[in-house]
Subunit: 316 residues, 2 copies
């Protein structure tokens, strides 16, 4: 069966995608922009593809995995020094009380992020993330978080690279957090990961210079921030963009409004059985504008339940 | 002669470098990190090389070329609408009066940049830069500015890429300005150009979304800002860094303090005859710390007069 699986994979670039209009349109787009004989041809240098991460490349329920990491880390830090839990929000976070953190809204989130993400060097922070990924398990699937990547999207990323695309993550998640697993999980190197970031400081200490994470979010890579960050950092307009929520609307709009062939792809979470079903009313991954306006803009709306024959990389 | 020139270039990766210790040390470093049999071997993915631009890859006298562009653009804009010159500084800038602008210090510089660089879309701005490069000539050399690139550095960039390095610019100059010419001049694509940037806004207008340059500098890519930007954007510590002023000190320090083989390169402007000679006392490209501490840190100090057999790409 294994060798048959390999055979299938080499014949079919998207083996975990069911026969579907979504799959056909993606393959047709790639065929068009990579064929020098066709008018839609795009040179390799301009084949930039950008993808949101949470809810697009891996799962995001019951809450963004980075927030689970933040709360786990806070609990761990409090074991050594309980006095760091200076507010009711931090005390709640350290016990895994998501409800209280969520009720605190944006301010509570920043409080938890500052307490768990700052005051350490980038190297220390990334070691902590790596350690957490080794041992933490998702409360429902019991999978390691970095095995809750979507196998169809891992295949799509690889397919695009095989066809000369440069694949990027452009995510509301933190750059330092994502860089720990994205190369192994998605084949995307650190320099192709854009995201939210906190301020950092550079200090030339006795033991050599260090870069330390500071309090406060310097840039939020969400909504209009996504095309702004793409323009600022990549300096080219992508020809393909994938996302799953209204936080990706501007990125897909910016991408698909360019001249020539463009593709926008939205992952619609329709699979309550194998994953989660949510869109218009969800506090995480809210999707309204994309469903209302995306189809008229030519975007592919992926129906997860129908279009994907497999969900997680870490489970068949 | 032309075919002989090509033959020489293919035999010698750095034909515009004189026989010198600087040249030998660069070639020895590249040989060491690219040979899988040697302990200093570095995988291609980690072969990140970063370079300052002004004074390192192209000239910067009598003043940063981007400031000359800003003043020229202001003069052009004032032809259509003289009322934009609302202050004595802007009036001076529009007449090319560098002295008054320089005396105004940082505030005057920001004033000139805001007036000449903001309120236009990125596309419009970059068209204006391209038009300027076509026609503007340097007051002393009479060369187009983008031919005042240093031929030895253009060769070094190409040599590094041929040896599997990824070459980046990390400059105090503006990203939108540099991206107009850097790909043709240096072979460095937009996504490998880091620099200072202004805020931009994303607006979804009737004619399609636009990204517009706004007033104010959002990030200054100089001094400690350079390693911070490298860490944030590239996410790997470079193994080679080149610069020419104390604005590059932190970048070279960060690069060369890493484990394993590292190389720092400082261009010392010693050539009053073919270029300019300046260092400790210069308002542009001031170099003190690099000369005092660089040699002990193992940095290569390039003596432009001695080590380069040719200066500008655009002139023999
Ligand atoms: Ca998302
Ligand atoms: Ca410089």
């Amino acid at each position: 069966l294994n060798s048959f699986g390999n055979f299938t994979a080499s014949a079919d670039p998207l083996p975990s995608w069911a026969e579907s209009d979504s799959r056909d349109r993606i393959i047709e787009f790639v065929a068009a922009v990579t064929d020098p004989q066709r008018p839609e041809y795009v040179t390799p240098a301009e084949r930039i593809a950008v993808f949101d991460n949470d809810g697009t490349l891996w799962a995001e329920q019951p809450v963004y995995f980075q927030l689970i990491f933040a709360m786990d880390r806070l609990a761990q830090m409090a074991k050594d020094d309980p006095s760091i839990l200076t507010t009711p929000v931090l005390q709640a976070a350290a016990t895994g009380d998501l409800k209280t953190v969520a009720e605190g809204g944006h301010d509570a989130l920043i409080e938890v992020l500052n307490a768990s993400h700052s005051g350490v060097t980038v190297d220390e922070f990334q070691s902590a993330v790596a350690d957490w990924l080794e041992t933490a398990r998702h409360p429902e699937t019991e999978l390691p978080y970095d095995q809750m990547t979507y196998q169809p999207m891992v295949e799509l990323l690889r397919y695009l690279r095989d066809e000369g695309f440069k694949t990027y993550i452009v995510s509301g998640g933190g750059v330092h957090f994502m860089r720990v697993f994205a190369e192994e999980a998605y084949g995307i190197p650190p320099e192709q990961i854009l995201g939210t970031y906190m301020d950092t400081t550079y200090d030339s200490a006795d033991g050599g210079p260090v870069i330390t994470k500071a309090d406060g979010i310097a840039f939020v890579d969400d909504k209009e921030g996504k095309p702004i960050n793409i323009e600022r950092t990549i300096g080219r307009r992508p020809i393909l963009a994938g996302g799953n929520s209204d936080g990706d609307f501007a990125m897909l709009e910016w991408t698909t409004a360019g001249d020539g062939p463009r593709l926008g792809v939205l992952i619609h979470h329709t699979d309550a059985e194998r994953e989660w079903a949510y869109d218009r009313e969800s506090p995480i991954g809210k999707l309204v504008d994309g469903l209302d306006k995306g189809p008229d803009m030519g975007w592919v709306i992926v129906d997860m339940a129908q279009d994907w024959s497999r969900i997680y990389t870490g489970a068949n």
